[in-house]
Symmetry: D4
Subunit: 210 residues, 8 copies
């Protein structure tokens, strides 16, 4: 059998400014809890993604984002903003926003600003045009990052979601839309990877405020 002791990367926090995070899918409940406890012992905080139920080990479980958090990193400067196109995209927008909060950032959320009712987005431009970095979450055709990317000069991290049906193919349509954005300089994460978007934003923010 493989060692029951997981081979955690406890040096990641020092090396990269963020700790190893437990990816719970494909792990047993026991493996997830064991990893969280060892990370919490080492760092004083721990995070798991893709958690399907409350782990009951003294942390906080959020069923929308599927995050389990024990403690968090100290509050730090930096103003990330998370935009989302529709209510159905909220599960990923929250994964990004709450990961940023775990990392210590105060995080603004602007939701339901999809391009089919453009006035909703245009009414909110002032709210996000002062952010340090903007995470844009959208499913279906994933057009929101193109429009946002054309309006403002900041870093844009686009996250396609698996929201949609038929030829959305669980996010392929949105992913391709974002990779082919006519707005230059939009970078893209994997489908439903709100966590990764938060870390990408963190890589920028910690450089900005170091």
């Amino acid at each position: 059998m493989f060692d029951s002791a997981l081979n955690l990367d406890l040096l990641r926090l020092d090396r990269q400014g963020f700790p190893e995070v437990v990816f719970a899918r494909g792990k047993t409940r026991a493996q997830t809890i064991s990893a969280l406890k060892r990370l919490h012992d080492a760092h004083g905080h721990a995070l798991a993604t893709g958690v399907n139920e409350d782990l009951d080990i003294g942390g906080l479980y959020d069923p929308i984002s599927k995050l389990y958090r024990i403690g968090q990193m100290p509050i730090r400067p930096g103003w990330p903003c998370v935009l989302s196109a529709g209510t159905s995209d909220q599960f990923i927008a929250e994964e990004a926003a709450q990961t940023l909060e775990f990392l210590g950032y105060e995080t603004k959320r602007i939701c339901d600003v999809g391009v089919a009712g453009l006035h909703r987005l245009l009414d909110r431009v002032d709210d996000f045009k002062t952010a340090d970095v903007i995470i844009v979450v959208a499913g279906m055709e994933g057009a929101l990052p193109s429009v946002v990317g054309g309006l403002v000069p900041q870093p844009i991290i686009a996250v396609p979601t698996s929201v949609g049906y038929g030829t959305s193919y669980n996010g392929i349509a949105a992913l391709l839309g974002m990779l082919n954005s006519c707005a230059a300089g939009v970078s893209v994460m994997n489908i439903d990877n709100g966590f990764g978007a938060a870390i990408a934003a963190h890589r920028i923010l910690q450089r900005l405020h170091s």
Copy 2:
């Protein structure tokens, strides 16, 4: 050998209000010319699409749209409008617009109104909000029909183009974007099918003005 005489559908004009049109790709120059002449003899006008060179039989060849026209149908009422996202999409926008002109419609064109510079589109809304039907041509992520479809109540016919590179996959990204449009009621044509979009518009226009 197959009969040299092509089996043309000369009844289509009566049955559907538009004649058979010669699809030149995969046909020899001689086959294309023969078909055009027989259609012209029957109807007094003829159109071929996908023509790669001037056929020199007394008609008009346009190298952008790859259309070859002999005569045209009588002018008729109806106000179609063709929007296109970028200069590179012009070859398909022209295929649609010139087919509509062949069918007898005065056709408005509005180009270079891609969503990365939203003000360009918003400045032109008054120009297309009185059209009977709007054909929207876009490559790359194909977001323009979503934005237009959310602004106006008219019929929207979206045409993805093969413009782009990498994961645009010769129009798949734009096609999927349009099929998954968050603006309701946008219908979609095959990639680069400007001709088909014109016929779809014509089906609407002849119902509207009959």
Copy 3:
């Protein structure tokens, strides 16, 4: 957390002639009900698609089409017709037809006229050749719109369904068949998007009867 108040587009009815409709998939029951109530308060009617159970808030639930309706828009002129190839396609044909009824149109349905028994379709041509617009719903190889599109001059809106198995790939075969229709001017919706087809028809009908 995101605002509990959804950012509904209440201006859509004035702007486009149809209200925002609640897309229930990916929303909680509470979110769906809340959105329906606010739309009903604003407009006096409300519609949700993709609803998996009766919401018990005084409206009408149809388990075939997965629509939940509270009231409807006033009866208006216009003769849409919905054709479907097989009994298995009924769930989408009904989504289209009942959405049209919600929008105020009297809607004709013709079902089980797939091309494998061509006489069934040919026997019904008189029933649909006077319609204003024809929605054609088909799964498997999706050949019905090609045949219908070659028989009549009206606007044809094709809807591929996910009906089939093996290489139907949940509607890809039908979608590709419709996008590549040899009948010119057939426009296409996303797979299983009966709702969108109804709105596309409505865009035409309200132009026709305004």
Copy 4:
């Protein structure tokens, strides 16, 4: 180096009733000629497919079908029929028809009977309803085998062609359409495989007339 002498399967004619045929793509002109000569020496006739130029070794080259024939097998009973949807599909229809002629069958051809002008097909039903086996060749959405397969009881061998553009994907749309035919019992060949269809027909015909 590999042996210059190709390892031909000279026993195939006895074992299966048809000889090995040279697949010229990917072979040098010299390899193709060498193989043809050895087959001709062994059998008194030889056939190559996918030949791009006249080989000038005393046989017959047809630039439409890309076949090169030296002699042919003796005339034999059997009535295959080859239907094709459009003029652009002729190159594959001829590959099938001329292979059947090489095998010794008198072969009927019916072309330009695509489903967008249904009357053209219905006018010819009497011409193919007495055939022993029907090969149906079509590109674009590939709907013709479904309609034919629903009209007659004979064996139907469907051949998708790479004719089309955009989402036809060089024959995928037609292939999927044929594999998902709502007409039961239609069997399908590889894209552009007119040769294979002829051999499939021959397997049936030699059983029928042995």
Copy 5:
């Protein structure tokens, strides 16, 4: 609502020599039963495919093949043979074999003759080389039809199954293998379409024995 009375094709038996068969997937139990009863009333026998449970209306349900049969057509001449590569392919092999039995044919089955143990196939050649038509059912890489098609001269109908894992992609690997068979003249059905293979065989057999 659509008519509760299904629009069955009761003329198919006369036109094609086989009756309409009920495709139960996507139909309610009530719809399936209603269709079976009307077909039984008209013809004296009825068949449904893709049935997930015993319908308890006096017929025979087979959980392996998912067929429900009421009666069958009269015994007729013709010797079809069904080969299958592995035990896991049995569900499709039985769908083909039992459909043939419903149509009136005595049907031979040879199973577990996959190419990884070639001697198992070679030991059985004498058993299938006298058949009128051979249906070859295989999943995974789908190599069996290539080997069989190279050994015998008869009509070969290949059926890919969804058996496999990983890159078998529910039968794509087998389908592509069969479409690209290096044995000439192998025709192919949709993935898991044992029923269609039986009808394709029947089209040949009724021609052979008429």
Copy 6:
């Protein structure tokens, strides 16, 4: 019905040095047990893969690897090593390792050495650089075989796993990564095919130690 007696390949052990192994997916519990018993009777040991529950026939069931073993082959020389990138890949790494143990090899396991924390891998190079053959198991982007393949001269058998989400597409990303490895001479198995990797290693090992 097909014969209830499965057509097992009992000669495989002599012919190839490993016995037929029961692939339980798609087989009934009874079929799996019957096959195991017959193999055990013939050889004195038997193995099944893809088993979802304990079969309770006196063997050993491991729920991680989904293997069911009765006995094993005699211990033999040879030092295979199984590396895995993440904890989530353990189910396939164990399928490979335990199959090797069934075949008689003492097998080393090194886990959680994914490339995102490179030091974990570099710290273990001494542990695997003396192995005879190295099986490398990884999901997500599947980069581990490239790095390992560049560090050591031994045979490398790469196994992509279905671990990941979004565009990992159940292992396609990892499979493509491994097939396109910039480290030369890495050969690849099907997604999640730990069993096959063990047999591929065994083909090498028995040649090495014969």
Copy 7:
């Protein structure tokens, strides 16, 4: 005809800190030159991408990167670094690096540090660990961003290239590898989109040094 005057977005420089750039593919030489001249007139500098030949209008043409530059923006602070895996990836690495130079940044290049010879990368870590942002360019399996992303804390922008053959599918393997990177927070551009990566880096750099 469409207006000969292109509808350029001359406000982009003020709005976003970078000017509109001419995408030359799909444009005629005359259209590209006209757009460059108008941008140069407005801003004093202009850039075109995807240029296949020297335009001979007084600027600088680089055949590797396919960039055409007239002038450049003023030198500004910021230290971007471009890493590339192989010599064949140089065309995209240069597109990124030279775009950054056009925008005013001094840009470090580190090439041929692919993961198959890990020591080459590890020897250079000190050279890139002080950069503000790192663009990582790789083809084939695209593993380099995962390894780099695990070594350093900075923003990582990954660019897949179309370099490779067979199943690299012109960059899909690399794209999927990067989207599924096990190193958290790696964001990804379209295949071969070195230009976009430079703009994404610029969005970060101008925020960092404003």
Copy 8:
């Protein structure tokens, strides 16, 4: 500009027992020659793959395999065998065989043993059943490795080629066939990767004869 001096991995020969090999596609003639000369200076031999023309620097160019060799490694023990299915696969079979010869191995070739004429393969079993390792090269459906893998116990390295047409998709059909081989323990290389197969064989052979 990137350094003109390529960053070659000169330590690979010591580390792995084979030198860095120049992948000429995507490199200029000058880059390829420069790399070959530096490798030759360091090792006394050098190899490039994918070379489209004679480089005229004193080595040997083979237009079939597209290899350019200067010298070779010393003759060493080991008996690799290369089987190929068809004449069209020879270009890849030669890439594998000649790479093995460059590495110092005497290499047996057996060609034109595709499964459509099984006797050709069975007649040659004695010729390859004593090899140390067998490389099996096949296009189209790629069935040959399954049959060979079921006949013999040795390591089998399967190489799909891009030979075929239509749904062979330049080798996908063959690749999927090989990955899903019903013969256990067949490992697979990228499409057309004869070079990689030779290195994979070499990894086994140098372990066997060290």
